[in-house]
């Protein structure tokens, strides 16, 4: 039996038994949806439909319905793409990297974090598709043997690397997530009374029997997948950053981008996990499982990655000055003081200044404050991508082509639509999937559960 020092705070609060955990986690799936769920779902669904309408309008009429022009050929589309990919980063970090580092606190949050990852990568994946002028030719980015003779994809292009990076990430994350779900689906299957529900969960749980051999295979495959997923945490956003870093545009052509984008992605991903879990734990009454300890841990990650991002911003400014390249110098000066100064300072205050509050223990254990900061961080990270993309493009080498960008209702509609789509998926998930990896959580109950820890302290470990 794993022994945990009494100085560590318990990860599961209250006097819980295995059966309590099962009951608590299966409850949202087995009970009727509360009115608040229906309200939230309806709002999200309307937003989603609005987005679908805007996407169909774009595909039917042309990219001209967006606010782009001859100088700024990417704006909200790629901003949203990078933003959603970034959000999708925390899930794999929590489930894979923290698994390898044996961080037990991840167990309460990994399921939802991974769900969030998959749902946000789906949103992200939409943008590279719909931003194409001819989406019906999108399959040309795949290296598929074809009847055109020697016609092949261009392996020099970072956009092609993106195709591979994002699709690999989505696949591995989904498999990893699903494997973890199997014992939990089996748990719901065993408890289900409704025959249809029972049948569905029977199919989903792949005939899980809870035998020792099953558990052994489960552990093995989890570890292998964690090993596979860990490099992806670094590679996906590294490759996304190369969309910019390998270009010649001042403000994009920056070698610092890969680590800086990865840190930013983890930063925004954790902020989104924080936003979602603060709501989930409240509505589903899971405060005992996702407690202050977890929230504080995540706040520390947000603070550290936010500071890394801040260092990166300052390094960029320094290197622009140090490089002696006038285009580079102007690009960064223009970011901070040009027509889009407000976007730059929104980014700076949301991403660099706001996480610094988390140095205070009082603030990082305050739920309301955490919730506000988690939203502020995601607004800031959206602005970061907007600043990088639009302010670099709008004034590049030749002043004759300098321009400005302003979004149309379609740009806004599609963005709102993806937020709606994300919440549609997340809300459906919250009603039908066990939102906490209960099978995993049970493995730490006797070492990190509050009652058991207390028992150990009083009677000594046996």
């Amino acid at each position: 039996m794993h022994y945990e020092s009494p100085v560590r705070n318990p990860l599961i609060l209250g006097d819980k038994s295995y059966s309590d955990i099962t009951n608590d986690i299966a409850k949202p799936v087995e009970s009727k949806a509360p009115r608040s769920w229906w309200i939230a779902f309806s709002i999200a669904f309307v937003m989603f439909l609005w987005g679908v309408g805007c996407i169909l309008y774009t595909i039917g009429t042309g990219i001209g319905v967006w606010g782009l022009n001859k100088t700024i050929d990417w704006a909200w589309d790629i901003t949203n793409f990078v933003w959603w990919v970034g959000i999708g980063h925390a899930g794999t970090l929590i489930s894979a990297v923290l698994l390898l580092f044996r961080q037990k606190w991840r167990m309460a949050i990994n399921r939802s974090a991974e769900a969030m990852t998959i749902f946000s990568v789906i949103q992200a994946g939409l943008f590279p598709l719909i931003h194409m002028g001819r989406i019906w030719m999108a399959y040309w980015v795949m290296p598929i043997p074809n009847q055109y003779g020697t016609l092949w994809v261009n392996f020099n292009s970072p956009l092609l690397w993106d195709v591979f990076a994002i699709s690999t990430y989505l696949t591995v994350s989904t498999v990893f997530w699903y494997v973890g779900l199997i014992p939990d689906f089996a748990m719901i299957r065993d408890r289900a009374i409704n025959p249809i529900q029972k049948h569905i969960y029977k199919l989903l749980s792949f005939g899980w029997g809870g035998k020792a051999k099953h558990w052994q295979r489960f552990e093995e495959v989890s570890l292998v997948l964690a090993g596979l997923a860990t490099p992806l945490v670094l590679s996906v956003h590294t490759i996304v950053s190369m969309d910019f870093a390998t270009s010649v545009i001042p403000g994009w052509h920056t070698t610092i981008f890969p680590p800086y984008f990865v840190a930013g992605a983890i930063f925004s991903g954790f902020a989104m996990v924080q936003t979602l879990l603060l709501i989930v734990r409240k509505i589903f009454k899971m405060e005992d499982y996702i407690n202050i300890e977890h929230i504080e841990m995540m706040n520390i990650v947000i603070m550290v990655t936010g500071s890394i991002v801040g260092v990166a911003y300052i390094t960029e400014l320094f290197i622009a000055w140090y490089s002696g390249v006038e285009y580079e110098q102007y690009a960064f000066l223009n970011r901070a003081t040009g027509p889009y100064w407000w976007a730059y300072w929104a980014m700076m205050s949301c991403n660099v200044f706001s996480p610094q509050f988390m140095w205070s223990k009082k603030l990082r254990t305050n739920l309301v404050f955490t919730f506000i900061i988690s939203i502020v961080v995601n607004i800031g990270m959206w602005f970061e991508r907007f600043v990088i993309i639009v302010t670099s493009l709008h004034r590049d080498y030749l002043p004759s082509s300098w321009s400005m960008f302003s979004p149309t209702f379609v740009d806004i509609g599609i963005f709102v639509g993806t937020i709606g789509f994300f919440f549609v998926l997340f809300l459906l998930y919250a009603r039908t999937f066990p939102v906490i990896a209960q099978a995993e959580l049970k493995t730490i109950l006797k070492s990190s559960g509050e009652n058991f820890k207390k028992h150990h302290d009083e009677h000594g470990a046996h």
């Binding site: 009429t61 042309g62 990219i63 001209g64 606010g67 782009l68 022009n69 001859k70 100088t71 050929d73 990417w74 590279p128 931003h131 194409m132 002028g133 001819r134 989406i135 030719m137 999108a138 040309w140 980015v141 016609l151 092949w152 994809v153 261009n154 020099n156 292009s157 970072p158 956009l159 092609l160 195709v163 969309d243 390998t246 270009s247 010649v248 545009i249 006038e326 285009y327 110098q329 102007y330 000066l333 223009n334 003081t337 493009l393 004034r395 590049d396 080498y397 030749l398 002043p399 004759s400 082509s401 300098w402 321009s403 400005m404 960008f405 302003s406």
Partner: protein, 420 residues
């Protein structure tokens, strides 16, 4: 109207958040006749206290292109009166301008190289036409020597180059018109031009000089933020330069590497090709183009209702104006200058049929053909007798943004002005 007068009358021309320009209008009264809602454009170099108003606008019987554009200045002119006193009153009415260029100055960058006559006569071209160099383990290299890649073979076949003499260019725009006609460049109308979506393959950049320069800033100790802000403002009495810019046909093209499907590729003849039917429209190439010459088909200009009034190719009669040798591009693809590839191919085929070598000047591009001052010269630099190969050796020759390392096939000739 000059900038100082604009302040005095309380009129402005302002860039909008989407890149278009809006300005105030004025009422002009001469001898009791009032011309209402005249749009005001602030023109650097306009003498303070004067207004320039072009005649020939405000027509009513000119057809669908010319009707109701601008105001009729003739109505202010009484017969046989060449000057009169005018009163000007600003109005509340706004006017939307179709302007393809928002920035007026070169921001102290080396874009249009310009020297004065004494400097030119000094003969020290190494100094006044200094080539950017890159430090390397082999010592300083020019952008044509500093290569990360293996070069294509540019010796065996033709190597098409173009020389544009900034001394001869008057900025008349004939090349732009010729190019648009030759290459079926879509007409998109004022509304789209206001959104900076003009489709021109060839444009004429115009820059005014500014009172603030790097030298002045250094002398007066002006900080960087203030320096750049002031550099954006053209002088009261500026000198003006023009520069035709089209695809520079870079031999190390930033657009070619980034296309995921290889829709834009390089030819052995120094051309940057665009395969429309392979393009999926990611627009990455346009973003990565340092010269911003790539144009995207935002709409289906041949069918979309929005363009019925402006695009002649929407009816059978208007379609007869299209050049049958050039593809009409579909929605969602990028297009750009091809250096009139249809003419090159035709010329090569004719020569092949006749079983002879190509001669210099046998064919040329539409822009070069239209240029009244002979500023644009097109040809094969692998033919040592060609005019363009001589021009390439000129001491005035330079490449635009050479320091980016793009190795363009287009080069410019430094402008020489006869003044101190």
């Amino acid at each position: 109207m000059s900038a100082a007068d604009a302040v005095a009358y309380g009129v402005e021309v302002k860039a909008q958040s989407n890149g278009s320009m809006n300005g105030n209008t004025i009422n002009i009264t001469v001898d009791g006749t009032t011309l209402e809602n005249v749009p005001v454009w602030i023109q650097p170099g306009q003498t303070q206290g004067s207004i320039g108003l072009a005649v020939g606008f405000g027509r009513t019987e000119a057809g669908k292109v010319g009707n109701n554009v601008g105001v009729n200045a003739n109505s202010l002119l009484a017969p046989a009166v060449s000057y009169a006193e005018a009163t000007v009153v600003a109005t509340e009415v706004e006017h939307g301008f179709a302007s393809v260029q928002l920035a007026h100055t070169m921001m102290g960058r080396k874009i249009v190289n310009e020297i004065n006559l004494p400097t030119f006569l000094s003969g020290n071209a190494k100094e006044w036409n200094e080539k950017p160099t890159f430090e390397s383990y082999k010592g300083p290299l020019t952008s044509f020597e500093a290569n990360l890649w293996d070069d294509q073979d540019h010796e065996t076949s033709h190597m098409w180059n173009m020389s544009i003499d900034l001394n001869s260019c008057t900025g008349c725009g004939a090349c732009v018109v010729a190019c648009s006609l030759e290459n079926n460049v879509p007409v998109v109308g004022k509304d789209e031009v206001r959104r900076h979506r003009d489709m021109h393959w060839l444009r004429i950049d115009r820059y005014y000089s500014s009172d603030m320069t790097k030298e002045v800033a250094e002398e007066e100790g002006v900080g960087a933020i203030e320096k750049y802000a002031k550099m954006e403002v053209p002088s009261e009495s500026p000198s003006v330069v023009f520069q035709p810019v089209m695809c520079q046909h870079c031999n190390h093209a930033p657009c070619e590497t980034v296309c995921p499907v290889g829709a834009t590729v390089h030819s052995r003849e120094g051309l940057n090709h665009m395969a429309y039917n392979r393009c999926i429209g990611t627009r990455y190439c346009a973003n990565n183009c340092p010269y911003k010459v790539r144009r995207f088909n935002w709409f289906n200009y041949q069918v979309n209702d929005k363009f019925t009034d402006v695009n002649p190719s929407q009816d059978d009669y208007g379609r007869m104006v299209l050049n049958p040798d050039v593809t009409v591009r579909a929605r969602g693809v990028i297009e750009k200058c091809s250096l009139c590839i249809q003419r090159i191919q035709l010329g090569k085929l004719e020569a092949k049929k006749d079983g002879r070598q190509l001669t210099d000047g046998e064919f040329t591009t539409a822009c070069a053909q239209a240029c009244g001052s002979g500023a644009i010269v097109f040809g094969d630099v692998n033919n040592p007798k060609s005019e363009v190969s001589h021009l390439k050796q000129e001491e005035r020759a330079y490449h635009l943004l050479e320091e980016v390392g793009t190795q363009p096939s287009i080069f410019y000739q430094t402008k020489v002005r006869n003044r101190a």
